[in-house]
């Protein structure tokens, strides 16, 4: 086979993207755990670790640009590099969202959403990312549509959770609370709503990864929107 060094670099790009995704998923799991347990030390590790993830992201982006500039990839190789270039951005954003989650845990004294509900939607979103990356790693398209379709259920679960919090907020009579209590309450509500929205966004990034993987494997832009 010709162009062995080039093929080696393409293989390495795939491995590196998957390794970065594994790292981000570990951080995401840690963030969920930190939120659930209130473990501030763990939360701090996630937040401080985001710097490494950003570094990896910039490295991989640079590798993609270099492959484009030096190797003039075409056809399947071109779609693989273009897709990887987009996918590393999604992975990096999931890393950012993980730091958000860890931060909410540190701040959140009184969770408004049952912790098992957070865990449910959190794990659903995380599994979507994990599965999307597994498909990307195979270089094939099988599973992309199915994983993307799970996002509808996640969106619905997030929507329901947000509505429940708002309903409880409306149901509470503010006249029974002091000004300080109201302020704390409002801060808790917005943090929890942001938590739900961030988890929902993790699912969206999983869909993006599926969309780019489908394009990569079959030149099909059916999931890109």
């Amino acid at each position: 086979m010709a162009r062995q060094e080039y093929r080696r670099r393409l293989d390495k790009l795939r491995t590196d993207v998957c390794a970065m995704a594994d790292l981000v998923l570990d951080r995401y799991d840690d963030a969920l755990e930190a939120y659930e347990t209130g473990n501030e030390e763990l939360a701090q590790t996630v937040i401080e670790g985001d710097h490494d993830i950003n570094e990896q992201y910039l490295d991989l982006e640079g590798n993609c640009v270099e492959l484009l500039a030096l190797q003039q990839p075409v056809a399947g190789d071109l779609r693989f590099i273009a897709s990887s270039f987009k996918i590393v951005t999604d992975i990096e954003r999931i890393g950012d969202l993980a730091t958000n989650l860890a931060g909410y845990g540190v701040e959140d004294a009184e969770p408004l959403l049952p912790l098992e509900d957070v865990r449910d939607i959190g794990e659903t979103a995380g599994t979507m990312v994990e599965d999307a990356i597994a498909v990307y790693e195979t270089g094939k398209a099988e599973g992309t549509w199915e994983i993307a379709a799970r996002d509808d259920d996640l969106d619905e679960a997030c929507q329901n959770a947000s509505e429940r919090i708002v309903r409880e907020l409306i149901a509470n009579d503010p006249s029974t609370l002091t000004d300080t209590e109201i302020e704390v309450r409002l801060a808790d509500v917005s943090r929890t709503l942001l938590l739900i929205r961030d988890i929902e966004r993790v699912g969206d990034h999983a869909v993006n990864i599926c969309a780019r993987t489908l394009y990569m494997a079959e030149n099909d832009d059916g999931l890109i929107y």
Binding site: A2, Y6, V74, G76, N219
Partner: protein, 302 residues
């Protein structure tokens, strides 16, 4: 992604009706020009057909002695477009190019089968004069090959051998051709100097000027930049982009990036003479249909 959409080229520079009329007239005129003996069949059917294909082959085969160099090639080359021919060494791409204006006739033991139509006329019909054909379908070679004559005489050569130097304003024709080849500004003050004094890139543009001076319709280019440095090669590439406004360009290139940059359609020859895929260049380089093409252009073999 990489190449412009072929349909975008030369947007409506001519009204379509005029174009068809021109084609019809050109075909009738061409029949006269290509055929030096009696025409045995009527041409009304071909002439009446609106057709944007300028060269079409059906079941074209080429043998060199016992070796088959082309296998049943069917292709339709569009007018006023750049068609690139790519493929590994020995895939038959130059053989194909040379069969378009019957350059293979000069090779001993070469046999052609099938048909190759130029505006609907099979150029391998007995009544076609290959010399007349080559005036309509000119060729530019890999190595610049100017005559050991002045720049002026190189360009005027074709018109002089056709005996047209009395009919046309030779000075104007030479200037037009040199302008058309993007060489005029560099040589206008030294037209008497030898063509061999020019740089490699200038010599190649001189050869292009010499070819277009006789007003062909199709330019065949056989790796026209492979002997040139990158800057000179870029100038030829820019020139090709301009030339398709007036001519149809068919270019054989070993440089796949060049094919991707400059062509509208790409034909991929593989396996010792098989046309494996022919499509829009963007399609070939983004999502080829044939796995063998994918493997070839991504460098997995060849």
């Amino acid at each position: 992604m990489m190449a412009r959409d072929p349909d975008d080229r030369n947007p409506a520079s001519k009204p379509r009706e005029t174009e068809e009329t021109d084609t019809t007239m050109a075909t009738a005129q061409l029949e006269d020009e290509l055929i030096t003996t009696e025409v045995e069949t009527g041409s009304t059917e071909r002439a009446g057909r609106p057709d944007e294909t300028v060269v079409a082959t059906t079941g074209l085969t080429v043998h060199y002695g016992d070796d088959q160099a082309l296998w049943d090639v069917d292709i339709e080359i569009p007018v006023h477009k750049v068609t690139a021919i790519i493929g590994p060494s020995g895939c038959g791409k130059s053989t194909f190019l040379r069969s378009i204006n019957r350059m293979n006739d000069q090779i001993d033991g070469c046999r052609i089968g099938g048909e190759l139509h130029f505006h609907g006329k099979n150029v391998y019909d007995e009544d076609v004069d290959p010399v007349a054909l080559r005036r309509k379908i000119g060729m530019v070679f890999q190595k610049p090959n100017p005559f050991p004559k002045s720049i002026y005489d190189n360009v005027a050569y074709g018109l002089r051998v056709q005996g047209k130097d009395d009919e046309v304003d030779l000075d104007a024709a030479v200037e037009d051709a040199l302008r058309g080849a993007a060489l005029w500004d560099e040589v206008k003050d030294k037209l008497d100097e030898s063509g061999l004094e020019l740089s490699g890139g200038q010599q190649q543009r001189l050869c292009i000027a010499r070819t277009i001076a006789t007003d062909p319709e199709v330019l065949l280019m056989d790796e026209p930049t492979s002997a040139l440095d990158p800057v000179a090669a870029s100038k030829i590439e820019d020139l090709i982009d301009e030339l398709v406004e007036e001519y149809t360009v068919v270019i054989v290139t070993h440089n796949m990036q060049q094919a991707a940059r400059i062509s509208d359609k790409t034909a991929v020859f593989l396996n010792g003479g098989e046309l494996v895929e022919f499509d829009r260049t963007a399609t070939i380089f983004e999502n080829p249909a044939d796995d063998r093409v994918e493997d070839y252009i991504t460098g997995k073999f060849g």
